[in-house]
């Protein structure tokens, strides 16, 4: 008899590969749109816009939507394969971190490609921008934001899966997580649906923002874990 003590890494790997597939398609399409826009609509007001800044907002939405799909795509599937809820939770946390890292790295690789294309061809695909000065910091910020958006999506997903219409409350929690991480890194909520709120926080230093982000993401995953622990699985 083989002991099933290794379901979490398997779930992490399998869901990572599935989401990676989605992510590669997604980023490639965003890149294609970026190139088309730069080549055909090269107005001066977007001259400094590079792929990094273009890709981040849709990547956040991608992570939010992927997080929302977690319960409806994977939960019943892996419980049917006889993983426990705890193993499922651990597996998805690991794969979400993996997907955030891969999207970020892939975005940077495409930014590099855009730069090379810009240098050696007549195409004007923008500057390296922030990457020139604070590349590593920007990578970490990018990863943190993507994980936070994913966790917010997952909170919404498990809220609706478990509580039906009561999941609306979880939308608020998800929104709070997103707003928190936006405030930590951007200092305002201009990138969220709460952009009408004129909230400003003074800019934090990198390590403070990083630690607070980790705390916020951990709290967010803790909420998911609590709700997932004894969730009834629907027999469709």
């Amino acid at each position: 008899m083989m002991k099933d003590n290794s379901a979490s890494p398997k779930i992490a790997k399998d869901t990572f590969l599935i989401q990676l597939n989605w992510a590669i398609w997604f980023i490639s399409i965003v890149f294609a749109i970026f190139v088309v826009v730069r080549v055909f609509f090269n107005h001066t007001d977007v001259i400094d816009v590079n792929f990094l800044s273009i890709a981040l907002p849709p990547s956040k939405i991608f992570m939010l939507v992927t997080g929302i799909m977690v319960c409806f795509t994977f939960l019943e599937y892996f419980i049917s394969l006889r993983a426990t809820r705890k193993q499922f939770f651990k597996g998805i946390v690991l794969s979400s971190i993996g997907v955030a890292i891969v999207i970020t790295v892939f975005t940077f690789i495409l930014q590099g490609l855009a730069y090379v294309l810009g240098e050696f061809t007549p195409l004007n695909l923008g500057q390296l921008g922030v990457f020139e000065n604070e590349g590593i910091l920007f990578i970490v910020q990018h990863i943190m934001m993507l994980i936070a958006y994913y966790s917010a999506g997952w909170i919404i997903s498990i809220g609706f899966y478990r509580y039906g219409i009561g999941g609306l409350l979880f939308v608020l929690i998800g929104l709070a997580v997103i707003s928190g991480v936006e405030l930590l890194w951007e200092g305002n909520l201009s990138n969220t649906i709460l952009n009408w709120l004129n909230v400003q926080v003074s800019s934090l230093n990198f390590f403070t923002a990083l630690l607070l982000s980790i705390a916020l993401i951990s709290l967010s995953y803790l909420i998911v874990k609590r709700v997932t622990n004894r969730v009834p699985i629907k027999v469709s």
């Binding site: 398997k10 394969l81 009834p232």
Partner: protein, 289 residues
Amino acid sequence: MDFNITAKNVSMKYKEDDVLKNISFHLEHGKIYGLLGRNGAGKTSLLSLLASFREPNSGEITVGEENPFENEEIMPRINFLFEKDYTYEYDPVKKYFEFAKRYRPDFDINYAEELATRFKLPLDKPIKDLSSGMQSAFNAILGLADFSPITILDEVYLAMDAPTREKFYEAVIEVQQKKPRTMILSTHLVSEMDYLFDHVLILHNGELLVNEPFDELVNHAFSIIGEAEKVDAITMNMNRLGSKQLGPTKSVTVYENLTEEIGTEIEKQGLEVGPVSLQELFIHLTEEE
């Protein structure tokens, strides 16, 4: 670990409804159990509890004297299959089998492929493109080829055509000979499947009406046939399940032990005793006015 299943005073609510009411039973390992019940009787709810898809609101379920819920040792050893929507399952059958093998310690992929050949299930076709009957066969194979100590099949055979169901019943007997396990088959197809059951559980409106070995159960009921007046007289104080009349001849089904005393009396009155099938018994017991 013995993998015997015990339910003690289990109740479950779904929203405001009491779907299971104070149910208790003990299922010894290695037998085939038939779980019968009409639509909405609570069969799937009970099976969801056994498979740790849900928890009871009160009472307890144990497998090998341990709570199976979120138990990493027990959950992978209980296999639960139910009718699923495979509309978005793009993977071919073979790949899905390989995936099942990754997670299920007792899944025998060679046997799964052998069964697929027998059921004429194409291994390289995406599951979403299979007919509903073939999807049912696929689902059944996931259950049969997994030699977990406990297999629960919740009406996965309904969409199969009659010849495929026959192959399925043969395979049930075959896997039980290979390596006995506890198999719980919930069904409406009572007359077709009754010969498979070692033990029968009948649920009705969330209550457990019957929990008996198959042989004993069918011996608990019989019909008395003959002249209407005499039949009515002899069955007056018996637990009558139903009756049919054709002209002066009446047949009354009773839920009683056929004791020597009753047998002699029937003979004396010139009446006859007829057997009652599980299907008839099930219909009578769960009939509502």
